[in-house]
């Protein structure tokens, strides 16, 4: 399906009410995880990462529209776009989240934005912590590395950063970017982690920093 078709579906009232009826953010997230349109768009973005910028631009366009005319905020679709970025490009999701929070006046979009920021901040904090405790060993992208948490792969979040996509399945972390078709073992066994697909950005000058045990 074309991006235009996704925009048309996601910016409809029919799509909006899928989320506006809920009273709890976790139900909105559950609905998003099950929604076939969002899953379809996520698949498209994973297949063609260039499209990620178009989704980011679409969010910016809608935010400008909302600022100009706050009469009909499209909360559901912005939340949906943000969710798709979260699942495909964390750096773009982080930037878009900050823009959503600056504009304000939205409901579930604000919750998704806060969740993305919390997620990224937790990851970056854990890197700082692990780096502070032990001297990190540096790995090249072709090394097999042992990880305690997937999140420690994130070193820098920059728009122009080198993008690494990683997929977590059955405690196997697979790096999916074309530069590195490597697979690494992961110790992570937290039952609460529900994400199966994660995307990270790594500044070109940086290398992987492994997790510190514990």
């Amino acid at each position: 399906m074309s991006l235009g078709k996704y925009f048309s579906i996601m910016e409809s009232v029919k799509f909006e009410v899928l989320f506006s009826i809920y009273s709890s953010f976790r139900h909105v997230l559950a609905e998003m995880a099950e929604n076939s349109t969002l899953q379809g768009l996520i698949d498209e973005l994973l297949a063609d990462p260039m499209l990620v910028s178009e989704i980011h631009a679409r969010i910016e366009h809608l935010l400008v529209e909302i600022q100009a005319n706050g009469d009909m905020p499209r909360d559901g679709c912005i939340a949906g776009y943000l969710y798709c970025l979260w699942k495909t490009d964390l750096a773009k999701a982080y930037d878009a989240s900050n823009e959503v929070l600056k504009v304000g006046g939205l409901w579930w979009s604000v919750q998704v934005a806060l969740k993305v920021r919390e997620y990224v901040d937790e990851i970056t904090d854990s890197i700082r912590t692990s780096s502070a405790i032990d001297e990190p060993t540096e790995y090249t992208m072709s090394d097999r590395i042992q990880l305690d948490t997937v999140g420690l792969l994130v070193v820098e979040l920059k728009a122009d950063a080198f993008v690494i996509r990683a997929e977590m399945k059955d405690r196997q972390l697979t790096l999916l970017n074309s530069a590195c078709q490597d697979s690494v073992e992961s110790d992570r066994n937290e039952a609460s982690v529900s994400d199966t697909t994660l995307q990270y950005s790594l500044a070109p000058t940086r290398k992987f920093v492994p997790a510190v045990a514990g």
Binding site: V17, I21, R26, H27, D75, G104, W107, Q111
Partner: protein, 168 residues
Amino acid sequence: MPVYLRSRNEVKQLDYSEYERQRKFQTEKLVQVRTDELLKDLADDHKYIRKLRSVSPFMYNCVGMIFSSRRAWIELDELQQILDEDDYNSIRFEDVCAGDIVIYTKGNSRRHVGLITSVERQGNELRRVLVISKWGADGEIEHELNVVPKGYGEPTEYWSERVKYVAW
């Protein structure tokens, strides 16, 4: 604004004040448009509501409608604390009467809560149960027990704060 329980504990609420930016989150027109869409969906399944009571743009939800007199948005995760600390007891469907609470669940997850406004009985059998409930950020609606958006699931729990509820 704060909502206190009988226990005098305060109910946790989302704080959106930082993101409100001197603008309402939604307009009456927007609530009307969304609610019309929901009613159209239900009509496609031959389900019809009794009455659209309100399309207020104020951000209160199903929990806030019942437990804070339409003043607040209270997430469903807070519902059990409210039931516990406001002295509610789980009751049987056969024993419900106006003023009791119905909870809708999907899977094992509580998705919605409504206020029972009318119960028609024939002998010991319940013939019709009417409910008023606020559908998220959308309209406040008077409806039959089973006429709700699919996302809410089914009515499965009934609660009352009556000290000794009347068995019919």
